[in-house]
Symmetry: C2
Subunit: 160 residues, 2 copies
């Protein structure tokens, strides 16, 4: 953790984003995975200040994502959402039952109420997650929602 503070001290020395707004300049929110290989602003050619970034395991649409998007849209002016999942995702290499078993074995806890939202097929999951945002009664009916798959080997983004 000391490394993080040292890394931040170097960043703060040359920080020049102090005048940026909490409102996304591109009126965009990105929903994507927590994966180590996604530098979100860089991979979309965005600058600091351009977009909200919401991330979780898999880049899945959850209640927390809906909560966050309501704030992004109603308070901070977002009008478009990009859902970006990626190749070689950890969520495709495990299962609901496998994760519950790991928690039971290692922590002695019963995670039967946790829905892990593992992924079988990326295109199918991206389409389902995009559809669930389009159908949400809490979001505007004209919200611009698109799905993409990012290739962690090539750095390329493909519309789904």
């Amino acid at each position: 953790m000391d490394d993080l503070l040292a890394g931040n001290a170097r960043y703060a020395e040359q920080f020049n984003g102090g005048d940026l707004s909490a409102r996304p300049a591109r009126h965009l929110a990105v929903v994507t995975c927590m994966d180590t290989r996604l530098d979100v602003y860089a991979l979309l050619g965005l600058q600091l200040g351009d977009a909200h970034v919401i991330r979780n395991a898999g880049g899945r649409v959850t209640d927390d994502v809906l909560r966050s998007l309501i704030v992004s849209i109603e308070v901070l002016g977002t009008t478009a959402v990009a859902v970006i999942q990626h190749t070689d995702c950890g969520m495709t290499k495990t299962t609901e039952a496998g994760l519950r078993e790991l928690v039971r074995e290692r922590r002695g806890a019963d995670a039967r109420d946790v829905r892990f939202m593992t992924i079988d097929d990326h295109a199918e999951t991206i389409r389902a997650d995009v559809a669930s945002l389009r159908a949400s009664p809490f979001l505007p009916s004209d919200l611009d929602v698109r799905g993409f798959l990012f290739d962690v080997k090539t750095g390329q983004l493909a519309p789904i």
Copy 2:
């Protein structure tokens, strides 16, 4: 959205992260806000591949964050978590009731079951969120969890 694909094409041309692992090189997960002014790897002096990044409105510890951390820890080797909230956060400028009213007025929907997790006091909220991770039966008892506040005017991170 076409701009995003064009921005990505430039990124992919010079992309050299194709050999990085899904396992965080620093065994670290960062939980932080979706805010436009947080370029997470940069502000911590991290490189692509170093850490998982989980983001939502406020950088709050939710069920989705727990779900994601279980995967990060049990499947991908994470041993430390940094919870980073920030000054000038949108979640300090609205209330649960205010958000429900916006959704009712603009969408005609009843969001009474959405817990928005707005923030009154940052230090108090960071301490509570750190404590809830430390107390979770689903996470290792020796998980290294720390809280920080990022100043969006100066780029500086302060331990809480």
